[in-house]
């Protein structure tokens, strides 16, 4: 069974559940994806399928990708990723949202929104300094180590810097609804990145449906 699909974040909304609670949801367009290649243990050393999502005009295609797509006999596609795991899918097949059903749990990977150069409080959740009583160290870095021993700053010390615009996976998100006609997945909660950002949607590794 195929373990995942590619998609695109459309935006957030809300629905009402059977207990009349308001539930925040993210709408994700998932598939249809074209199977471009199948990797096998014998040939590649691991098993996976390569999927392509969302067609684009041929003129936007660059040469390397264009030649590759010609080789696998596929139309121009914007987003190409591999999904690990053995499947019976062969190149040329189309994968749709139907691999998921209501109540499933999924892990969703995307690229987070870039925050630019962010301070330590925002980037790493530092507590910051005192707000008043003459304190002038509100959001400052403060001390980053000791003196002659160890005489250096430890590796991995959290400091201000570029934040966001990185790969983020949110685990165990619940599928509220699957709309086959519009290739829509309705996911409970938030998904990383901008509306229109590309996503990899995989079956949850930690949580299974019905638990």
């Amino acid at each position: 069974m195929l373990e995942g699909i590619l998609g695109k974040k459309l935006g957030m909304s809300q629905v009402f559940d059977e207990k009349n609670n308001t539930v925040p949801v993210t709408l994700v367009q998932a598939g249809p994806c074209t199977v471009l290649a199948q990797k096998t243990k014998e040939k590649d050393g691991y098993e996976s399928v390569q999927l392509g999502f969302e067609s684009m005009p041929e003129r936007l295609l660059n040469k390397p990708l264009g030649e590759y797509l010609k080789k696998v006999n596929a139309k121009p596609l914007r987003f190409i990723r591999e999904i690990r795991g053995a499947t019976e899918q062969v190149p040329g097949n189309t994968v749709t949202v139907e691999i998921f059903k209501e109540g499933d749990f999924v892990d969703i990977t995307g690229t987070s929104k870039g925050k630019g150069f962010a301070g330590g409080m925002k980037r790493h959740g530092w507590k910051g300094g005192p707000a008043s009583h003459g304190s002038m160290s509100h959001r400052r870095v403060g001390s980053i180590g000791n003196r002659a021993t160890p005489g250096r700053v430890f590796k991995g010390k959290t400091l201000p810097g570029r934040m966001g615009n990185e790969r983020v996976t949110t685990q165990s998100l619940k599928v509220i609804k699957v709309d086959k006609d519009r290739n829509l997945l309705v996911i409970r909660g938030a998904v990383t990145g901008f509306n229109g950002g590309y996503l990899i949607i995989r079956k949850a590794i930690k949580k299974k449906a019905g638990k």
């Binding site: 459309l10 935006g11 909304s13 629905v15 009402f16 009349n20 308001t22 367009q29 829509l184 509306n195």
Partner: protein, 105 residues
Amino acid sequence: MLQIVRDFEKERMKKDVPAFKPGDEVRVHVLVPGIEEERTQIFEGTVIAMKNGGLRETFVVRKLSYGTGIERTFPLHSPIVKKIEIIKEGHARRAKLYYLRRLKK
């Protein structure tokens, strides 16, 4: 907002909502939470604000109860809001009537 998100919301929106506006006096029939049977309560007062749009639209109703101002925010399209009746039409000159809070005290 993307058209597909708008369509998604439109399908889930109530179609029989009366057209009321801030300043109107309304009677809201709302489900009592936490019980098995379906019982409704009535909340009656002035609409002082309407916020958001689409499926996420909410409105705030204010009433005076024994001299104390009570405000309740209802999600317009939520199934807990069973029925909305307009008792009296008002003519507010602004969209948010938050000044009523200070006025009535």
